[in-house]
Amino acid sequence: MHIVVCIKQVPDSAQIRIHPVTNTIMRQGVPAIINPFDLFSLEEALRLKDKVGARVTVLTMGPPMAETSLRKALSLGADDAVLLTDRKFAGSDTLATSYALTSAIQKLAEEDPVDIVFCGKQTVDGDTAQVGPGIATRLGFEQLTYITKIEDLNTASKEIVVQRRSEGGVQVLKTKLPCMITMLEGTNTIRFGKMDDLFRAARYELKTWSRDFTGAEEGRVGLKGSPTVVSKVFVPKPRAEKAKMIVADADTSEAMAAAAIDAIFAAQPKLAGDLLARAAAGL
């Protein structure tokens, strides 16, 4: 059983600041972290390893400094780590990124066939949720996104049963390996690393792969291989700075409640209609 977990090193979005004059992102001093959504997938991969036995390889595409995130993943229990890094990858959009990552997964599969690829549901910097499906489609793997639970994995028959979040409910799906899984947030909690894994992670010799090595075509990565272009980046119109404070006629809870409801309905007239319709229907 070989599991590949794709992770991305991202700036901690809670600490991003925008330069007031140039309107650009100030990355200086912003700590880099493993994309939080990836941790749910990494933990699930490690749980499968604990349960049925598996080799877990973490893979990331990024600049050399993304090494930090790979070592972190190793310290949590991953067995191997691959850093896919090449200047030619710079400026890749999701189509080019999924192509580049797929070339690395195929390279990994040459020496040890891959049964499951885990990806994060989406990243906190790009928020696209498109790279996982892109990889699944390219590899011809069954695509299982927004998974809330892995109910069963039978390594002999290579069958897996999962619960998948859909808009109106939960789908219970049964499929065959190989598959690509993205876990929904909040479905597990990332473990603490063990001391010996921590030492192993520090000493581990990372595999650093280039575009040439994985055989990704030059014209299909980076800006050249990306159908989308960013034509404009701008700061959203700031919302009215502070809350509009509700002032009641009298200093009683009743007066405050009445004033609050008036303010809500004034701000959201449609909501008032919906609520009244709902009440009229006797719900």
């Binding site: 979005s13 809670a14 991003i16 925008i18 309107n23 939080p36 189509l95 989406q122 906190v124 910097d125 928020d127 696209t128 949720a129 498109q130 996982g132 499906p133 892109g134 699944a136 489609t137 390219r138 695509q143 996104t145 859909s166 808009e167 109106g168 409910g169 939960v170 789908q171 219970v172 799906l173 049964k174 499929t175 947030e185 909040g186 990306s226 159908p227 989308t228 272009v229 960013v230 034509s231 404009k232 980046v233 701008f234 700061v235 959203p236 809350a243 509009k244 509700i246 809870s253 009743e254 405050m256 409640a257 809500i264 701000a267 959201q268 449609k270 609520l275 009244l276 009440a279 006797g282």
Partner: protein, 359 residues
């Protein structure tokens, strides 16, 4: 306000062989006969884009043949479609990536739309990511604004990035179709026009169930579950440590009941055992986007804020006039939540029941 960083693209001219791609499409999301409202919002948006381009709106409705599906095709026309591509096969009854992706890839390659829009839902984002890969074209995720650049008729898709701190406008240049998923409840819901007419093109893709690896064993509808469904709630009443003690949670549930709302909590309340973690809103809990979010006794820590700040309307109730939550709530009420919550429950109850008698 805007500081164009790289104005490349607007002057770009489309290669001749891609000019045969015409019309604006919406992939209508239906699950078990229920259409997701974002699909109707998108038909309204597609109408506007198509009118700017002088082309038609196409709606793709996929599923197993049923009266529900025919009704949905009629709805699609009423909400703005000129052409409905009704794609039916028993294997399309439930959403599964592989058959949906294969069918959509064929339909797009046959009819060549210039723009394909989907809702940024679990279905839409799953499917869009797959077909953009088979079609090898550009896809912009989770858009909040769509427009056409008149210079070259290309789609300008605007979306938040870096957790909403920045907006960026993205274009797909020398590739067709141009694809985008669009965030639910951002675009206005169009009025249904029963007088509208359109044509329905029936497509039977001839799928074989034995070729499809993934099987749907069961579907557990949310309404049959006891778990809180915060992510899909229209109204959420949330509580923080300001409520003082666990007994006061009743005040929150009472108000939620009158409003048909869900109850949310901050992380400390889950840690204190006042509520289960399916109710936690914030960085390590759920991200919610209701029409109304009432925050009672919540100070407004960043961990909570990132999970709820995109709500349409936030009403904050807090005794401390300097609480952080008043920096990003839309409406603020300085006062004791323990007294105001029951007053709100009474007042809402009265207003809504008055209407029931009148109606």
């Amino acid at each position: 306000m805007s500081e164009p960083s790289k104005p490349q693209g607007r002057k770009f001219q489309l290669p001749e062989h891609l000019k045969i791609y015409k019309n604006v499409w919406v992939i209508v999301e239906q699950e078990r006969g229920i259409v997701h409202s974002v699909s109707l919002e998108l038909l309204g948006e597609a109408r506007k884009l198509a009118d700017k381009l002088g082309v038609e709106v196409g709606a793709v409705v996929l599923g197993a043949e049923s009266p529900d599906l025919n009704r949905i095709c009629g709805d699609a026309i009423g909400y703005g479609a000129d052409i409905v591509y009704k794609v039916t096969d028993p294997a399309l009854a439930d959403y599964r990536t592989d058959p949906y992706c294969r069918v959509m890839t064929d339909v797009v390659n046959t009819h060549k739309p210039e723009i394909v829009l989907l809702g940024a839902t679990t279905l839409g984002r799953d499917l869009a990511g797959a077909i953009a890969t088979t079609l090898a074209t550009g896809l912009t995720a989770d858009c909040t604004e769509l427009d056409i650049y008149a210079d070259n008729r290309s789609l300008a898709a605007t979306r938040p990035t870096f957790g909403g701190t920045l907006l960026c406008t993205i274009q797909t240049l020398a590739y067709r179709p141009q694809m985008a998923t669009v965030r639910p409840r951002v675009m206005a819901m169009p009025e249904r026009d029963d007088a509208r007419t359109g044509r329905v093109i029936e497509i039977q893709p001839d799928l074989r169930e034995e070729d499809i690896v993934t099987k749907v064993l069961n579907f557990i509808a949310d309404r049959e579950q006891n778990e809180a469904q915060l992510a899909f709630a229209d109204i959420i009443v949330s509580a923080g440590k300001g409520l003082g003690k666990v007994e006061n949670m009743k005040l929150v549930f009472d108000l939620a009941k009158v409003l048909g709302a869900e109850v949310g909590v901050t992380r400390p309340l889950v840690q204190a055992g006042w509520a289960t973690n399916d109710r936690q809103v914030g960085q390590t809990g759920k991200t919610v986007r209701p029409k109304l979010y009432i925050a009672a006794g919540i100070s407004g820590a960043i961990q909570h804020r990132v999970g709820m700040e995109k709500s349409d309307l936030i009403l904050a109730i807090n005794t401390d006039p300097n609480a952080t939550i008043f920096d990003f709530a839309h409406l603020g009420l300085v006062g004791d939540a323990l007294k105001i919550l029951p007053a709100l429950t009474d007042a809402f109850g009265r207003r809504l029941s008055v209407n029931r008698m009148a109606g």
